[in-house]
């Protein structure tokens, strides 16, 4: 008799998650298909890193299911605007402002801080911005801090397929500086074994932009509200996830010009 009871309990334990999964609401989250560690890694049709762990924790807590769809960075926003994805992560209201004109988008509270800055070889540290004539970046990323110079024609933008190419192009001098997320470039330098001199270093004297990564949507603002509430309620868990991915250690100087309070 006792054996039958245990067998029943075991079968219930097997079928319960299945029933739960069937009843979950599923959403498609568009993510970047690039290696953007430590924030996230969307290569090879997968999605890993801090963003994945955080969103999965939220989904698990709220009874949701997220399907992650890695896309080129430039394709993410049009896909969101076209309704092909439910959420976009990461997002920032300042990115691709022309495409956002007239569109009704909803953004979550900042998920994690980011610093997009200009990195130069060791020897070029401290040079004025006027010396930068060719600026390298990764395809899909807009060098927002340099838009004025680009608009004036004082600067030529060279896009690279990925961060590895960007780092190597900058190190050999084909471009004068690299504009990218500072944490990501530092992570890539470590991965490539190029973190010792000569290496690339963030020059805070050159244009940079502090920002936050957010979750955005056009059709599910209610989910965003639940997400914001969950981050407040589970601040410790969120902090722990950031810590696991080394994000708290990022040396980000305070920037009073941060547009978002």
């Amino acid at each position: 008799m006792r054996g039958l009871i245990w067998l029943g309990l075991w079968l219930c334990s097997l079928t319960a998650p299945l029933a739960e999964e069937v009843s979950l609401q599923r959403y498609v989250v568009g993510v970047e298909n690039i290696d953007y560690r430590p924030y996230h890694d969307g290569r090879n049709a997968g999605f890993e890193g801090f963003g994945r762990e955080l969103l999965d924790a939220f989904a698990a807590a709220e009874g949701l299911a997220f399907d992650y769809q890695p896309l080129p960075v430039a394709r993410l926003l049009p896909s969101l605007l076209d309704g092909r994805i439910d959420f976009k992560y990461p997002d920032d209201p300042h990115w691709q402002p022309q495409q956002r004109l007239g569109a009704v988008l909803h953004y979550s509270q900042p998920v994690v801080e980011s610093l997009d800055g200009t990195l130069v070889p060791d020897g070029a540290l401290g040079q004025p911005a006027s010396r930068i004539q060719q600026l390298g970046t990764v395809v899909g990323f807009t060098p927002v801090a340099w838009l004025d110079a680009l608009g004036e024609g004082r600067l030529m933008l060279r896009e690279n397929a990925d961060f590895t190419a960007l780092i190597r192009q900058t190190l050999i001098g084909r471009v004068d500086a690299a504009y990218a997320n500072v944490a990501v470039v530092q992570y890539q330098l470590r991965e490539l074994g190029l973190d010792s001199a000569p290496t690339l270093r963030f020059d805070p004297q050159l244009p940079h932009l502090r920002g936050d990564y957010r979750l955005s949507t056009s059709r599910h603002p209610d989910i965003l509200e639940r997400f914001d509430r969950w981050m407040l309620d589970e601040a410790e868990q969120v902090f722990a996830i950031k810590a696991r991915h080394g994000l708290p250690d990022t040396q980000i100087p305070a920037d009073p010009a941060h547009p978002f309070p």
Partner: protein
């Protein structure tokens, strides 16, 4: 004359020969014009076909080039629209304008936004615009762009559109067509000139030489003709023509020589013939004189012969009168028989056949005889027989047919002295005697070599054979006995006595004798006719059967029909 000199002379002669022909009518000019026309017409036709093929090929090439270009940039274009990489898209579009004829290129993403585009205005002329339809349908192409992430199915991410300028393609095509046409015309001219030159060197010039040489042929001495030198044509058709011509002229020379020889021989023969004719004429003149004398003698002889013949004929005609006088009156038995028909026809005027009719009281005697030979000899025997019969019937009073025949035998032998061994006559006769006895309505018959044919009223024929005996004849013994047949005569029965001259007519195919049997059968089929008609028909039958064959012997037939009972009045019985 050296070969070079001969060749120079031939060349001059050929030149003179050709100079007699207007340049516009010369073979070379005609051949040149014809070759040029053919080359141009063929060139035009081939050029038109080539143009059409080039057009098709160029269309294929444009399509292939577009396909290859699209295939070449498809990956990059897909990457650009997937990444929405405007710079990459611009570079790609700029690269596509390496195509000379590209007028517009557009790279559009799957959100409907133009990622990159460029348009290159082309100069358009009236000619190229008018012919733009040649390529207008293939100038716009669109290639859907797909992109596969990982192992997922490729998804549509954008579209690459290219538009070529048909005017540029038309200009290129027309330029190529013009070049081809010019080259084709030049080629036609060159080929024509080359063909004309080759034709002149290979055919016309040797023909002119050959023609000039032929003009020099002496008709009186064709065999002494100097053939032109055609060293490079020994083994071709011209060489063959030259050989045939030489052979022909040689044969003509041989024929002329032969003709001259024949003419000389003919003259000699004519002279010899004249001599012979003169000699022969003299001989003929002599023979003519001899012949004239011979004809004169022959005419004299003919006259004598004609006179002799006339004398003989007169003698024979006189003998016929005598023999005829010796025959009985054919009406001697009228009134004693129902009918009687007698046909006595000697082969010549007189013959060896003889017959006798004589009343003997109530009885009537009928005798028929076929004596040896015919003509005068036979007639002489009939005279002997007639004399003997007169004695037998008058002096001896014989009344039995057999006795009469035996008496004839005896008397003929005696009168011809056949009973003497040294007698020269070996003549005799065959005979038959029939005696009608109306009282007993019986016919007594005895024959020596001549049978009696009896035909009943129903057409049944019966032959009463005679004895195998001959009367007379020194070389044969006298008959010992001759049987007498007595025949009961049915009313309407007919009887026939005939010598072998009647049945021995030769005729038919193959020729053969008529024969007594067939004659009897014919008579049997004629019972319905009167005896007179029957005998007349028999005469026509014999003439028809004999045809062109001559008669061979004397011919005598006696046909009679006894009275059925008491004799009718005399007038009704006479036929």
């Amino acid at each position: 004359m050296t070969p070079e000199a001969v060749e120079a002379v031939e060349a001059r002669t050929a030149s003179r020969a050709s100079s007699g022909v207007s340049p516009w009518r010369s073979l070379t000019f005609k051949q040149a014009v014809l070759t040029l026309l053919v080359a141009l017409v063929l060139g035009l036709a081939v050029g038109a076909v080539q143009l059409w093929l080039d057009w098709g090929e160029m269309r294929k090439e444009v399509r292939r080039s577009l396909d290859e270009t699209l295939s070449l940039v498809e990956g990059s274009a897909s990457e650009a629209v997937y990444q929405l990489h405007e710079e990459l898209g611009r570079q790609l579009i700029d690269g596509l304008f390496a195509l000379e004829s590209l007028r517009r290129a557009e790279l559009r993403d799957d959100f409907g936004q133009v990622l990159a585009e460029r348009e290159h205005p082309m100069p358009v002329t009236g000619l190229t615009r008018d012919w733009a339809w040649l390529f207008a349908d293939i100038c716009r192409v669109q290639r859907p762009l797909t992109y596969a992430v990982g192992s997922e199915q490729p998804a549509l991410v954008g579209q690459l559109s290219l538009e070529l300028a048909p005017e540029v393609l038309v200009e290129r095509f027309l330029r190529q067509a013009l070049t081809d046409s010019l080259l084709g015309s030049l080629r036609a001219l060159f080929i024509s000139a080359l063909v004309v030159a080759i034709f002149y060197l290979m055919i016309t010039r040797p023909l002119l030489r050959l023609g000039a040489a032929i003009a020099r042929v002496d008709p009186a001495n064709p065999g002494r003709w100097q053939a032109p030198a055609l060293p490079t044509h020994r083994r071709d058709e011209l060489g063959l023509l030259l050989n045939h011509l030489q052979h022909l002229l040689g044969a003509s020379q041989a024929a002329l020589d032969e003709r001259d020889r024949a003419r000389a021989e003919l003259s000699a023969l004519a002279r010899d013939l004249e001599v012979r004719v003169r000699e022969r004429t003299a001989e003929l003149e002599q023979q003519k004189d001899v012949l004239a004398r011979a004809f004169s003698e022959l005419e004299t002889t003919h006259g004598e012969l004609a006179r002799a013949n006339r004398l003989v004929l007169e003698s024979i005609q006189y003998a016929r009168r005598i023999q005829t006088a010796m025959l009985p009156d054919k009406a001697a038995l009228d009134g004693r028989l129902a009918a009687i028909q007698v046909r006595w026809e000697p082969l010549h005027l007189v013959g060896g056949d003889w017959f006798w009719l004589e009343p003997m009281g109530e009885r009537s005697l009928i005798l028929i005889a076929d004596c040896t030979g015919h003509g005068v000899p036979g007639a002489f025997i009939t005279l002997v027989l007639a004399s003997a019969m007169k004695e037998i019937l008058r002096a001896e009073g014989a009344r039995d047919p057999a006795q009469i025949l035996l008496a004839i035998d005896r008397l003929v032998r005696a009168r011809l002295r056949q009973d003497h061994p040294e007698a020269e006559s070996d003549d005799g006769l065959e005979a038959a005697v029939a005696i009608w006895d109306p009282a007993r309505r019986a016919l007594e018959f005895a024959g020596a070599g001549i049978p009696l044919l009896c035909v009943s009223p129903e057409g049944r024929v019966e032959t009463i054979r005679s004895a195998r005996a001959h009367l007379g004849y020194r070389s044969l013994p006298p008959p010992e006995a001759i049987p007498v047949h007595r025949v009961a005569v049915a009313p309407g029965a007919r009887f026939y006595l005939l010598t072998d001259g009647v049945s021995d007519h030769m005729g038919g195919t193959p020729p053969r004798l008529l024969g007594r049997r067939r004659l009897a059968e014919w008579l049997a089929g004629q019972v319905e006719r009167s005896l007179q008609d029957q005998v007349a028909d028999l005469q026509r039958l014999l003439d028809a059967y004999r045809g062109r064959e001559p008669r061979r012997d004397d011919m005598t037939l006696i046909a009679f029909q006894p009275l059925p009972s008491d004799p009718p009045p005399l007038d009704s019985l006479r036929e």
